[in-house]
Assembly symmetry: none
Homo-oligomer: 196 residues x 4
DNA sequence: GATGAATGAGTTTTCATTCAT
DNA sequence: TATGAATGAAAACTCATTCAT
């Protein structure tokens, strides 16, 4: 039992142990006991570095988000072409979802695992939107490559309406609605010119 | 104390009690005791209608999602114009977020309330994306009305990458990425013609 | 494991278990685990009857004090002679210190700060003694300036019966009782000449 | 950070820190961490001067009691008149209850069980009072049967000064002091007529 | 002497779930 | 059907004490 590791390292160990376990079993299903056991330290030590379980979660959150933000800036900075910047941004975010230490799910959906019901049920709304895109396309009114995939993204985008989602400098509701309508239209390829 | 109410009614009472309490205090902070007390039934009765607390949550989920899906279909069915259908779809979803019995937050973010850290931290990523839109617009490369609001939506849309998010009939990853890229481009007004 | 005992009985069992353990090992050294194990019930049951460990202590306090106050009134009521009433009062208090279920030590010397219940409950015994002084004075049998204040001091003086109170060279019990009786009589101004 | 302070001083610092904190927040609510932080020393150092938290409490007890005993002797020594000696004794005790660093409440009402140190230490004050009664009796000024036992009771009676002791309808301080002086005089048999 | 990082047993409290009635 | 008393496993958090440096 290594005594007196540098504080930085201890903190990192705890953060890492928490990340792994939250990822593997969900936040609610992970106890402090689990975390300290995995980090190889005593329970008391945890409270020398974090005020509570929630405090650890917040720390993880900050770590994750600042990393992703940095990567977005870096990736988009390396490309000159503007449309290509957008592609790079998407790619970076997608990649971060694919990484073994992805915390999106854990961080943005605190608590527990996604139940089967949850998953299945999501499909209901998704289908409604997907059908809309597909039928519009069939009617020749929309110009969208992949209605199903686009529906997933559009449906997900509306979670931005959630007051708990956006940061403190949140745009007002009417701006969000207007922007979403423009987004849906453009996603569907329903307009040729600029604005809605 | 009315004994032997119709089963349908009992179930609905329980569902309603759960919805109200989850909404008011969060899922984690709501105990079965609370739910059954509010529904005016005994604790044992609960287990005659639901397998567990989670089962109730799932049922709520199904109820909520099927209602929203129905409303989307109804709203979009009443309009003839295709772009207007998209607007209607957005409006319905947005309205469901505004309603006093909105369950989005509860259902898609199970457990507890959103911490300050969570909220603050979201801004980091949001800023990165928002900056991208704004600077592209300033450069004359993008044609987007409201970069900040659009960033919120685009960032939210990427949660669609989350394997826990989309239904069982999820489009493959590469389709999602490609669709997202098209979505970002179009959202930014970075292309005049149809596809990417 | 008897299921569903009458609530009164359960409560009494818990109270009794607490009293015995507090008496034997002190309040701080007694955990809820100890109490429920002794009472032969589950830990959860405790919280069906008491809000907390402190709540149990308060309940014990009320129980004890109201019993003692009753006994003081009863004992003094049975004697006609006023000085003899004082003796009887001392005797009752002393006896309650001797009983196997004496809680003086436990109740009046709880660690930390004095609870509201504690304070309120003290008044029960105080009133019994104060009434005695006041009525004796009214009857012209006692010559005491301030019955209420004197009652406080006399009641406090009996804490000298507590074996944990006096030093190693403690006078024997019978000397304490006799001295207390003299003290009460003299405090009350119930005798003109020297000794009792 | 002064290293290697004289041991006496270290000990005194720790004692003082403990006294202040016990007084302010109660014994149970004061951790060793609090004490050492206040004393400006490390946690380890504490154990160089005291065997345990309880040991510190005992040391405080001895300190307090020997001081009070000294003051009782000093105050009573300065008066010639015997009844006046009793009054002085009461006054000293009462004053010590009024001082900002009064430890009565903390020391004589510690949670759980009475420590050996506690018991031994009580004797110091008891002796001072007992000596007073005995010498007054020897001088023919007092008429008290059992000075030692009476001292125990009189000392105990002064715990009635403790604001946490008496009920909500507590007599004012001046009434308590006056009543205590009368009590001590009468207990000592220092007056033949009624009031002080 | 002096430090303070580390320990881990111990505490109170909660609550989903069971089951005798 | 319906009840609600009873369970007990588990959780978060505390803190007196130790000991390598």
């Amino acid at each position: 039992m290594a005594r007196t590791k540098p504080a930085e390292q201890r903190r990192a160990d705890l953060l890492e142990a928490g990340r792994e376990l939250f990822l593997a079993h969900g936040v609610a299903a992970t106890s402090l006991d689990d975390i300290t056991r995995r980090a190889g330290v005593s329970k008391g030590l945890f409270y020398l570095y974090f005020r509570s379980k929630d405090d650890l979660l917040d720390a993880l959150h900050v770590q994750f988000s600042s990393r992703l933000a940095d990567r977005i800036r870096a990736a988009t900075g390396q490309v000159a072409d503007w449309p290509a910047k957008l592609d790079a941004c998407v790619t970076v975010i997608f990649d971060s979802y694919q990484e073994p230490d992805d915390l999106h799910e854990v961080l943005f959906r605190r608590g527990g695992h996604v139940s089967a019901g949850h998953r299945a049920t999501h499909g209901l709304v998704l289908n409604a939107i997907s059908d809309l895109f597909a039928s519009g396309k069939a009617a020749g009114a929309f110009d969208v490559e992949d209605p199903a995939a686009t529906a997933v993204l559009c449906w997900a985008s509306t979670h931005g309406f959630d007051p708990g989602f956006h940061g403190q400098a949140a745009p007002a509701d009417d701006r969000l609605v207007r922007a979403a309508q423009q987004l849906f239209r453009r996603a569907a390829g329903a307009e040729t010119s600029g604005s809605a």
